[in-house]
């Protein structure tokens, strides 16, 4: 093992070095800034989680699985997973092995952090030992792995469908520079190491390549320029990295521990939100997932564009994207990194100042709670159910058949649950509504509250504190009634396809209960995309700016997803979905309450009801 | 020898019917008391909802009846029934024997001066829909200010008004008001344009689109309330009072021009014609059809048919449709079927 340069330095490393210093400086600065933006409590919690063995181990595992192996991507699409993990893991191994080489052969050079990268330039004849040749073999092997990944990446640029992506975001100019630099790095490394292989040694890639090149080019003149080019490609990549999607590489390593520490987004532009924005790899999975993509006009309004615009600080577009979103949560469900697109939008909405503040002092809390006294079970149908009267009517029938002592608290209209106000970003106003409803409910003396609207249900379970009152989703309640034998099912010949409402499925994690319930009463089929990948009906109150007319395509696309099941009818568990689908559906749309009412009989005889 | 059919009235109904009768092989004799054909439509500028020039329609109808006998400035002086025939005497001395008569005597534009509270003929800047169309046609009018800042349209002037002797809806005024409001706004983009209506009766094809355009593109404001009175201010503007029934409050506004949407009232000459031919007059003064559903063009007398606004307010397409069906009914009648 001979060191070719006693100084251990050659000017070609400078571009790399500069890039490295720049990117490290940038990241350190970024981390410090973000840590300062966290609230004191969050910061404490974060540091604590770093030294708590359980979370620390989880951090390491998650970073290894998500950032290097891209396990989630493998699950989504094998090609996509292979491409990403081959580049990430291969590159990681090249760096690790580079360091191993240096430590093994020239431990005194380990402090020069360009040494592991350009090891083959600085040494000669290192493959003469078994250790050396094994390392050279591994280096060539992982380089090959990366090169395969890069080749796939090139294919993906032109044929993204092979990777399960219908649409990909258009990269910006800087992103292109970064991309081409990244593409260039590894072929250049292969060239550089190949040109040097007769001096430094090499393995199954570099030695034959060196031999081939020598036949053609005949001299060593090409050696130095390729090392320069390699270094420059690395330098360029690192210089542009903070301004490109490749920032997700360092950002995600910050995101994972923060998420594991249990941090929540508290402001649209600061702290954890910022980490999420930078963690977005611009892969574009969310474009296909977004239900709004059914209309070409909305293609640039999904999360990948939100993070892009938030990085650019384009306020007009940020507002536009934030307000248009249906908040269905699908982008978050499919996101490989875990960017909370809906939450980011919500917080952007919350930043706005409304000159007219709400005033709910006119809500006659006492009168409402007095009126609600009497029933042990309160039934809250929600505003939207009043536009789908079959739900309330069916619920009443079910209650009566099962002999439930109930009171329908908002039969004549009540106080909204506050969720629509919250999704508009008016958190204070929403809290005001929550206070009013809380007073009414607690004042009623009921011990159970059955909620049939998933929008309300999510709100009641997440934002309300109702001591002594059990908030039950009507699906669970009806299932209980069936289990207790208070309702006797009769099966229908109809086959229903169950549509997971966003707020119930992705919102509350309730996927199986409705299917179980429906399965006892009728045939059940699955939509093409279901459960966490269910397609929003388009009626969501989450969107502030989508007009009635602009929702049509979204609804129709969502219906197509349901029609794929060839079911006779559509079942869902949300008044908004029911009303929205009913507008365009070519087959019956029924709420679960209606189906339960149709397909059950009470144990009580009609006279006792 | 082709069989005679006397068509009384040379408006669009009479013209279209004559055209159809010619095509069916008859000899229509068109009798018009004015010196031109086309009636009210000939005075109009553009027709809703396609904004097609009214003149084009009249010219097209003209082209179809060049072979017909047309008597202008001629009145019917008597109609006598002789066995199966009618003997129709005209003011120019011509007498015609025919088995079928088509009455297409149309309507009379309500005399807006009779709604005294609106001050038509009293205040300088109160005009009617017909005046405005005439001005659109390029006729000068000193009643229409050169640069009005605000323009108002009053719907239902002499329509749906028992006291004005016209209890029926005139059908076309709402859409005409919307049309003219748009046209005024096109000419005077800076002007505020108000439409005072009782009900907006935009029943026809494309009418609602027109209404939405008026609101959306032209910002025309529709105020639900009938104008109760109009006064003139010191500077010659009009102070208009109405109730904003949707706010439940009285409302006033000063306008530079007020356009009264005079409705369709029955043609007074029709009474004489009805007497001569022993035709029934309806409670609204228009000619009474045999039935108002399936026989709107059929009279109580054999061989006498109706077309257009002589039986009530009609739109142009309705009138043309009736003229065609009346021609066909005459044809069937004359064929003995």
């Amino acid at each position: 093992m001979i060191e070719r340069f006693s100084s251990g330095f050659h000017p070609f490393v400078l571009p790399f070095l500069a890039g490295m210093v720049f990117v490290l400086g940038y990241c350190v600065y970024g981390i410090v800034r973000i840590l300062f933006q966290l609230t004191g409590e969050d910061r404490r919690r974060f540091f604590l989680s770093l030294i708590t063995p359980r979370t620390a181990l989880k951090n390491i595992r998650d970073i290894f699985c998500d950032c290097l192996l891209h396990v989630k991507l493998w699950k989504r699409n094998r090609m996509l997973g292979f491409m990403h993990s081959s580049i990430a893991f291969g590159w990681f191994m090249l760096i690790v092995l580079g360091h191993v080489e240096v430590m093994l052969f020239l431990p005194e050079r380990i402090r020069l952090f360009y040494y592991p990268i350009f090891f083959n330039f600085f040494v000669a004849e290192t493959d003469s030992t078994i250790q050396g040749s094994l390392l050279f073999f591994l280096m060539d092997f992982f380089l090959l792995v990366v090169l395969v990944g890069i080749a796939l990446a090139m294919v993906k640029r032109v044929r993204s469908r092979l990777f399960g992506l219908r649409r990909t975001p258009r990269p910006s100019l800087l992103n292109r520079v970064g991309l081409y630099a990244l593409w260039a790095i590894f072929p250049l490394r292969l060239l550089a190491e190949s040109f040097t292989a007769h001096i430094s040694g090499g393995s199954f890639l570099t030695i034959p390549a060196n031999w081939v090149f020598r036949q053609f080019l005949g001299n060593d003149l090409n050696m130095l320029p390729t090392w320069w080019a390699y270094s420059i490609a690395l330098g360029v990549f690192m210089f542009v990295l903070p301004f490109t999607r490749y920032m997700h590489i360092p950002a995600e390593m910050m995101l994972i521990p923060m998420r594991n520490a249990g941090l929540k987004i508290r402001g649209a532009r600061k702290g954890f939100a910022r980490v999420q924005v930078y963690s977005c790899p611009n892969c574009g999975v969310c474009i296909d997932a977004c239900p709004m993509s059914a209309d070409k006009a909305n293609l640039k309004d999904c999360t990948v564009y939100l993070t892009r615009q938030m990085r650019r600080g384009n306020e007009r577009r940020i507002a536009e994207i934030s307000d248009k979103c249906l908040l269905c949560g699908k982008c978050e469900a499919v996101c490989q990194v875990g960017v909370e697109g809906p939450k980011l939008r919500l917080m952007n909405r919350a930043e706005r100042n409304y000159a007219v503040k709400a005033d709910y002092s006119g809500v006659p809390v006492t009168a409402l709670s007095e009126a609600a006294r009497g029933g042990k079970v309160l039934y809250y149908s929600g505003c939207m159910s009043q536009l789908v009267p079959s739900i309330g009517r069916s619920m009443e029938s079910v209650f009566r058949k099962a002999g439930v002592d109930y009171f329908w608290m908002d039969r004549e209209g009540g106080v909204c649950c506050g969720r629509p106000m919250m999704t508009a970003g008016r958190l204070e106003e929403a809290a005001g509504i929550v206070r009013k409803n809380t007073e009414v409910i607690l004042g009623s003396g009921a011990d159970t509250m059955v909620v049939s609207c998933p929008i309300c249900y999510k709100m009641f379970t997440e934002e309300y504190s109702l001591p002594g009152v059990r908030v039950v989703h009507y699906v669970n309640h009806m299932e209980e009634l069936l289990q207790e034998g208070r309702l006797v099912p009769t099966r229908s010949d109809l086959c229903y396809v169950y549509h997971d409402p966003c707020e119930l499925g992705r919102g509350c994690g309730i996927y199986e209960e409705p299917r179980r319930l429906l399965g006892r009463l009728a045939g059940i089929a699955e939509a093409e995309k279901n459960r966490s990948e269910s397609v929003c009906c388009g009626g969501s109150l989450g969107s502030l700016t989508l007009t009635f007319a602009k929702r049509e395509k979204i609804t129709k696309a969502s219906l197509e997803n349901l029609y794929a099941s060839n079911a006779d009818a559509i079942a869902t568990a949300c008044p908004l979905c029911t009303a929205t689908f009913a507008r365009y559906a070519d087959r019956p749309v029924r709420d679960l309450a209606e189906i339960v009412d149709r397909q059950t009989e009470g144990k009580l005889k009609p006279a006792e009801i | 020898m082709k069989e005679n059919v006397v068509v009384i009235g040379g408006g669009v109904a009479g013209m279209e019917a004559a055209r159809q009768l010619l095509l069916l092989g008859y000899n229509p004799i068109l009798v018009e008391q004015q010196d031109h054909l086309g009636g009210h439509v000939a005075q109009w500028n553009r027709l809703f909802p396609d904004m097609a020039p009214a003149g084009d329609l009249v010219r097209r109808l003209w082209d179809g009846i060049t072979d017909a006998n047309i008597f202008l400035e001629t009145r019917v002086t008597s109609v006598n029934r002789l066995k199966d025939d009618y003997l129709v005497m005209l003011s120019n001395g011509v007498s015609i024997s025919c088995r079928a008569i088509l009455i297409a005597s149309g309507f009379k534009l309500f005399d807006a001066a009779r709604k005294e509270e609106y001050g038509y003929g009293v205040y300088d800047h109160v005009v009617t829909n017909a005046d405005l169309e005439s001005w659109f046609n390029g006729n000068e009018s000193d009643r229409i200010p050169s640069a009005p800042r605000s323009v108002g349209f009053v719907h239902c002037v002499g329509s749906r008004d028992l006291k004005a002797g016209n209890s029926q809806c005139s059908k076309v005024c709402c859409i005409t008001a919307v049309k003219q409001a748009i046209e005024m706004k096109e000419r005077f983009p800076e002007a505020r344009v108000y439409c005072f209506y009782m009900d907006l009766r935009l029943f026809g094809k494309k009418y609602e689109d027109f209404y939405i355009r008026a609101q959306q593109e032209f910002g025309i404001q529709f105020i639900r309330g009938r104008v109760s009175e109009v006064g003139e201010t010191l500077d010659g503007r009009l102070q208009v009072k109405a109730e904003d029934t949707l706010s439940g409050k009285p409302l006033k506004v000063q306008l530079d021009l007020l356009v009264l949407m005079a409705g369709m009232s029955c043609n007074p000459d029709v009474a004489e014609l009805a007497r001569m031919a022993r035709l029934d007059i309806d409670s609204d003064g228009f000619l009474r059809s045999l039935d108002n559903t399936a026989g709107i063009d059929v009279s109580n007398r054999p061989g006498i048919f109706y077309a257009g606004a002589c039986t009530g307010a009609k739109t142009v397409p309705e009138t043309l449709g009736e003229a065609r069906s009346a021609a066909l009914d005459i044809h069937r009648y004359l064929q003995g079927r």
Partner: protein, 356 residues
């Protein structure tokens, strides 16, 4: 404004007014508000014009004021009116002329009602017979006293000693006319000139040399409104209506207002004082109000009667500036002298509204 347009309408609303032999009935409230006006009507018609205008002390209210205050039902009013007609019949007259516009409207309304519902007339005849054994004929002609003055306006003009012309400038006086609501708003065909552009008072002004000024709120109610005024809580509403009229009138430089209704004349006169004392605003020149005259008063002035003889000292708004302009001579010191030169004492003067 197109004057010919108005003339056309005036031609449509003319009514036949017999030249002589009228049975005259007085108003309830005018006798208190402007007692000289009714007296001067008989003076002018009987003495100056030499007409047969007969009145009897046995006539009563027509019931209209109580009717419009929702105090008595219409059937009662009809019986009262039937008695009035009986008195006329007994006196041998068939032309009936009330001095009150509300009475006039009341009579018109009742005659029209009887015309539409003859059984009601029969019933009233029976009731009248039961009550006081009287029978009546319906008047052949019904007119308001202002109709008669209008009818004789040119004769008055011929005998005029003063014309409604500014003595200094030679310009016609700018005058507004205000017609009582009950004159023609209910039955436009019963009023001279109709309801929208009544000519009855405008004709007088024109004949006597003045200029009629139209203004946007000309048709608006004077603000009396019967039941509105009689409930004190609603008086703010009454005065607000008057205020609206004067605000609308303000830019037109109106020098006097001519009215034909007892309430209008009174309220348009008195409310000017209330408005002035509440808001500090006056509508005439130099802190004065705009004088409001009855047609008898104006006719009297034109014919050369002494203003104090016409009862003009009973007006709240000072009439002197108007008298000065048209050149009526008067003794300022005699303003508050009653019968036999008895000193009635000068009333307390308002703060904001300039008076003498």
């Amino acid at each position: 404004m197109i004057y010919e347009g108005k003339q056309k309408i005036w031609q449509d609303y003319q009514k036949e007014i017999p030249d002589d032999h009228w049975y005259y009935v007085r108003s309830c409230i005018r006798q208190n508000f402007f007692p000289a006006s009714e007296r001067k009507f008989t003076d002018i018609t009987q003495q100056i014009l030499g007409k047969d205008v007969y009145e009897t002390p046995y006539h009563t209210t027509c019931g209209g004021i109580a009717y419009h205050c929702d105090a008595i039902p219409q059937v009662t009013v009809m019986t009262i009116v039937a008695r009035q007609f009986a008195l006329m019949t007994e006196a041998g007259y068939e032309n009936y002329v009330p001095s009150c516009v509300t009475s006039f409207g009341n009579y018109v309304e009742i005659l029209e009602t009887w015309h539409e519902f003859p059984e009601l007339e029969t019933r009233i005849r029976e009731q009248l017979w039961k009550a006081c054994r009287r029978e009546f004929n319906k008047p052949k002609y019904l007119a308001h006293t202002s109709d008669l003055i209008y009818h004789w306006r040119n004769e008055i003009a011929e005998k005029a000693r003063v014309r409604l012309i500014d003595r200094e400038t030679g310009e016609p006086m700018r005058m507004a006319e205000h017609i009582g609501c009950h004159y023609a708003k209910m039955f436009p065909s019963k009023g001279i000139g109709g309801a929208e552009y009544p000519y009855v008072l405008a004709g007088m002004i024109e004949s006597w040399g003045g200029q009629v000024v139209d203004y946007p709120e000309r048709r608006h109610c004077c603000g009396y409104g019967f039941r509105q005024y009689h409930t004190k809580a609603n008086r703010g509403y009454c005065v607000s209506n008057t205020h609206k009229k004067f605000e609308s009138m303000e830019p037109y430089g109106i020098q006097a207002i001519l009215t034909n209704c007892p309430g209008c004349c009174y309220f348009m006169d008195r409310w000017q004082y209330v408005i002035a004392e509440q808001t500090g605003k006056t509508y005439g020149k130099d802190g004065f109000g705009i004088p409001v005259f009855t047609y008898e008063e104006l006719a009297g002035l034109v014919l050369g009667y002494d203003p104090w003889d016409l009862g003009l000292q009973l007006h709240q708004v000072a009439v002197e500036p108007f008298l000065d302009r048209i050149g009526v001579e008067y003794d300022p010191k005699a303003k508050y002298l009653g019968v036999n030169k008895e000193d009635l004492l000068r009333p307390e003067l308002p703060v904001n509204l300039k008076c003498f």
